[in-house]
């Protein structure tokens, strides 16, 4: 793999840009791999990358039924933060945020990580108390956050109307080192790095069955023929239930649609990410100038990857109270992604009832921010059989009642 660099740009500029290589190879699947990762989204590719980088396991294939990053990796609102309440969540999300800081250098691929700061508005007394508590918890966890007053909110984001009639801004939980990144680039960067290590990235290859013998996984059946493996990692988000059924177990997961939209591009008006959980909306401005807006998840099972208008209305209605400046903007496009919600709204990174088969799912509405940390923990789990970062996120916790209750802590979709 030829490295990307300033010198490479100069070199290619001098010869009509004809020397750029394909970022990753698209080989035919081999008969057998040491490990197969099902799912070529951010989490799956990150798992493969850290298997190679941290554990030297490079006889690995990533199987993707569509195209890389075509699921939720390319459908989220790109927010990265780690201001969680519970220790296991804060640990894995903070690991992820820290890895994002150096990801462009690590992967030699510009993921455009922008630590512009994330502000979670407190618009009720209950939220003020909740976020103060989170700020204290974060201080103990070593996550750099603070609770700021309304004047500081206005200073950081002048377009906010802090004196809204129904939900005035009473303060905010501010994480200065949080931010955004280019979501497609995260998948592409990992894929390129995996390919450079000799792994096979195989797109348009749908897994149709999981083969096992004596309770151990043997391989998978795919639309491109059977492939054997020693270890199998299932990292397919919304479609985890279908894969689990093939592997012979059930999951505490329901798949629902989560929606987002962007406005027409305008000049820079805000350089932070603002989340308003009480009114259920969050907003940031992309580098192209679009206002990127996310809403809440549907309450019913859905695999359509489409949005619906009443959700847009609900989200935008709330946001124009807080950001009057956006009331005249036109919507450019909107979309939906299928998110996998667990019973306690925290993810699962776990062994499964099938031997040498591991699952990483349940990231629900907040998976993008976790990609590097999730891949790091999943790779360690697959290579060593256990990972400190993943130890709380087992499948058994639902049976044993050891929930990681971030749903209550965050109050809403996260």
């Amino acid at each position: 793999m030829r490295r990307y660099s300033a010198a490479a740009i100069v070199r290619e500029a001098a010869r009509h840009h004809e020397g750029w290589e394909r970022a990753w190879a698209s080989p035919e699947p081999k008969r057998k791999y040491d490990a197969i990762i099902v799912g070529g989204g951010g989490h799956g590719l990150a798992t493969a990358y850290y298997l190679g980088r941290n554990f030297g396991l490079t006889n690995v294939a990533v199987l993707e039924k569509g195209w890389l990053g075509g699921g939720n990796t390319g459908r989220n609102t790109t927010i990265i933060r780690s201001n969680y309440l519970q220790d296991p969540s804060a640990a894995i999300y903070e690991k992820a945020r820290a890895l994002y800081e150096t990801m462009s250098q690590d992967l030699n691929y510009n993921v455009m990580f922008s630590p512009r700061g994330v502000m979670m508005l407190a618009q009720t007394e209950h939220e003020v108390r909740g976020y103060r508590r989170t700020a204290h918890a974060n201080a103990l966890q070593g996550v750099d956050t603070e609770f700021v007053g309304p004047e500081r909110v206005k200073e950081l984001c002048p377009i906010i109307n802090i004196e809204g009639p129904r939900y005035p801004v009473l303060g905010a939980l501010w994480q200065a080192r949080a931010g955004t990144a280019r979501h497609d680039a995260v998948a592409w960067g990992y894929a390129r790095a995996c390919s450079a290590m000799g792994m096979d990235i195989i797109q348009k290859c749908e897994v149709t069955g999981v083969r096992s013998s004596n309770g151990q996984v043997m391989g998978v059946d795919t639309t491109r023929g059977p492939i054997d493996c020693d270890k199998l990692g299932i990292v397919v988000a919304g479609h985890s239930g279908a894969l689990a059924e093939m592997a012979g177990f059930r999951l505490p997961i329901e798949s629902v649609a989560l929606q987002a939209l962007v406005s027409e591009p305008i000049k820079p008006v805000m350089d932070v990410v603002v989340m308003a959980n009480t009114v259920h909306g969050y907003m940031s401005q992309s580098d192209k100038g679009e206002m990127v807006i996310g809403g809440g998840a549907d309450g019913y099972n859905n695999y359509t990857q489409r949005g619906s208008f009443h959700h847009i209305e609900e989200t935008v209605r709330a946001l124009i109270e807080t950001f009057p400046i956006i009331s005249r903007l036109k919507m450019l496009r909107h979309w939906g992604g299928i998110v996998d919600m667990t019973g306690d709204r925290s993810p699962i990174i776990s062994k499964t009832p099938l031997g040498n088969c591991f699952i990483n799912c349940g990231w629900g509405t907040g998976g993008f921010k976790a990609i590097p940390g999730s891949g790091w923990a999943m790779a360690e789990l697959m290579a060593r059989g256990g990972s400190p970062l993943a130890s709380a996120f087992t499948l058994e916790r639902f049976r044993e009642g050891r929930f990681i209750d971030e749903s209550v802590a965050a109050g809403v979709a996260h």
Partner: protein, 114 residues
């Protein structure tokens, strides 16, 4: 937007008038239930890509619970029936079979209680 007919009051309600209640026909085990029974009742879900029987409440209407048979891929609705029904009525099963041959046999409720 989903449109469901409330079997109690007969109104065609859109989804903003309704509150979703998750998978229907779950077995709620009584005293002496094992941890596995509770996990199954509280958390484990079939989450099918296809026909799904699910509970809804006509929250901004008559307030009563009912069950809808719906496809999670096409959002097509096959029928609704009152929540006090142990298994889908024949006309709903027929409507499902007409559009998705063989699908009713895969419904967990048709395999007996879990």
């Amino acid at each position: 937007m989903l449109l469901l007919t409330c079997p109690h009051c007969g109104i065609d309600a859109d989804e903003t008038e309704l509150a979703p209640g998750g998978e229907a026909h779950l077995t709620r085990h009584g005293p002496g239930a094992t941890d596995d029974d509770f996990e199954s009742y509280l958390f484990l879900r079939d989450n099918p890509r296809g026909v799904h029987l699910e509970r809804w409440r006509h929250a901004n209407g008559c307030g009563k619970w009912f069950i809808a048979a719906r496809c999670t891929v096409s959002l097509e609705v096959f029928g609704t029936y009152p929540a006090q029904t142990a298994r889908p009525p024949q006309h709903v099963l027929d409507a499902i079979e007409a559009k998705r041959p063989g699908a009713t046999r895969k419904l967990p409720v048709m395999e007996g209680a879990r």
